[in-house]
Amino acid sequence: MTVFSRGMAPGPPADTYRSGLRAWLDEHDLSPGAGYDGSLDAQVAQLDRVRRELWDAGWMRYGWPEAVGGRGGPSALRAVLGEEVAARELAEPGLYSMVEVLVPTLLSYAPPALATAMVPRLLSGQEQWCQGFSEPGSGSDLASLTTRAVRDGDTWVINGQKVWTSLAQYAARCVLLARTGPDPGHAGISAFFLDMDTPGVTVRPLRTMHGVDEFAEVFLDDVRIPADRILGRPGDGWRLAMDLLPHERSTCFWHRVAHLYTRLDRLLDDAAAPGDEAAALGEAYLALHTVRCRSLTTQHRLADGARLGPETSVDKILLATAEQQLLDTVRDVLPGAVELHDSAWRTEYLYSRAATIYGGTAEVQRNIVARRLLGLGKE
């Protein structure tokens, strides 16, 4: 976290923070209100509200540096907060966790004044941001992206198309990857901080199989970005993208696992005779317990100052596998719940099909394990 990590206040111990947070949440119920209909609009409004309340009360400020309105302390405090938000079902965990990759990116790569001005808007629920990485022609092979940025005086002119951009239709800003150099590979990619209301930006939400238009296509036609909105230096884009992964795979994963435990609890509630399904429930629980233990190990390594790397692909594979196994178990144990009724289970089951695709496919993760952890050389 470069300049921002210096002189961070130590923050309270995780236990103290958790008990204080729980007591506060018991008194301040942030659950969705009576008008909540579960639509994406409602989810985003609820997310804004949760962030705002937690920011105003100070809970959301721990784990972040003081220069962006934070109160310092380790990132584990953010993991504790996200776990509590997930456990109480205050916000959709995937959307809630987006700050965990966006903010560290700004702290590491944005000019300090820009980070200081912008980060509080995201953390306090004033704004949503998005991340423009994937393209129609560049999914797993992100380094092949073709959106281009050409320097013109003191601006960059961007042309291209992004896809799978979560919450782009709600976003005020976008961390965008584009090609600035002649190099066709990693080296020619740069990152920008784009205002989404800039002329030439068109957003079209994507219909997906689970019925929530969370993802969007973003079209960029002669979009002009001031030169001081580049993140890092020209050519730093790939490194920025790679630096995101450890953030995504530590705090975000802890949040997700916490959410999946709430789903297993719900399944135990909904099952007519859970005792008859002991084997399947035990398997789902074992997979969840395993990824929770692994994620805890990763959190401890992070706290000890370790630089996270390819070993987090193990966490990713365990999590995606556990998520799909849990939702498969839901479908087995609650016959018809997915197929016959428009329920939360249907949405969650369908969404779980993407777990082995987003954030690096299951196959890409196994390639990384084989190459980097097992030392099997090139394919």
Binding site: A271, A278, T290, R292
Partner: protein
């Protein structure tokens, strides 16, 4: 024990396990080395080091008895009936004359009548570390093989189908290790044994496949690890039984216990 002491201990243990004949000989050598004191002073570190290395080296010794006796607060040495999968009971003999009928021919395991209930927490941790070590031994054999052997003019390691099998094996072993590191109670130890059994069985399946015909011969060491996995998985409850038991716990409580915390 700090990291340096642990490393030194592991080095000594590894040498002893490699140089001493398994069974009674190794049992005596480890006692000589101070196994009973280690177990009494730092049970979880001792169990972790000794049993994981039994797995990695392919050696064996009847030390599960000691772990159960220690947890019962009884003097170490001797053997006692232990529950096996399917409601069966076995004794891991310490008599030099005994040869068992287990699929793993080295292990002096005898079928016996049902014995008195035994505490299972530490014993399951011990067997889980052993299974984890065995899994890593199989993975090391398969890894070496796919790097060395060429077919169709390429190393086997360049074929994605095999790479993914071995990746899957490592993921299972790493997941199991995480559960073991955080195993400190009855349910978490049960889950760790299930995770380690599952991981070792996964390793056996994928590594056997990667080794092709070679891994099916009696000359290659793989089969010993495969057979050991089968036997150890059933001792003090199989993966299948333990996961079902965990499911019963969930059903009875109506919620999934969060066993580890930040």
């Amino acid at each position: 024990m700090d990291a340096e002491e642990r490393e030194l201990l592991e080095e000594t243990l590894r040498k002893t396990m490699t140089a001493t004949p398994s069974g009674g000989g190794l049992d005596a050598a480890l006692t000589e080395l101070g196994w009973p004191d280690m177990l009494a002073e730092e049970p979880s570190a001792a169990i972790r080091a000794v049993f994981r290395l039994l797995g990695e080296t392919g050696a064996h010794a009847p030390l599960v008895n000691d772990v159960l006796l220690y947890e019962m607060g009884r003097p170490l040495g001797g053997a006692l009936p232990m529950p096996y999968a399917g409601g069966k009971w076995v004794e891991w003999s310490r008599e030099a004359s005994v040869t068992g009928t287990a699929v793993d021919p080295g292990l002096p395991l005898l079928s016996v009548a049902e014995g008195a209930p035994v505490p299972l927490t530490l014993g399951r941790q011990a067997l889980a570390w052993w299974l984890l070590g065995t899994g890593h031994a199989m993975l090391a054999l398969a890894r070496r093989h796919v790097l060395d052997r060429h077919q169709f003019g390429r190393p086997l390691a360049s074929f994605q189908a095999l790479r993914h099998r071995l990746a899957e094996t490592l993921v299972a072993l790493e997941g199991a290790e995480a559960t073991l590191v955080h195993a400190d109670g009855e349910l978490s130890s049960l889950l760790a044994k299930a995770a380690a059994g599952r991981a070792a069985l996964t390793a056996a399946r994928h590594c056997q496949q990667a080794l092709g015909g070679l891994g099916f011969t009696a000359e290659h060491p793989l089969h010993r690890h495969v057979k050991r996995t089968l036997v150890l998985d059933g001792l003090l409850g199989s993966t299948r039984e333990l996961t079902r038991e965990a499911g019963r716990v969930l059903a009875a409580r109506g919620a999934a216990p969060r066993l580890v915390h930040l």
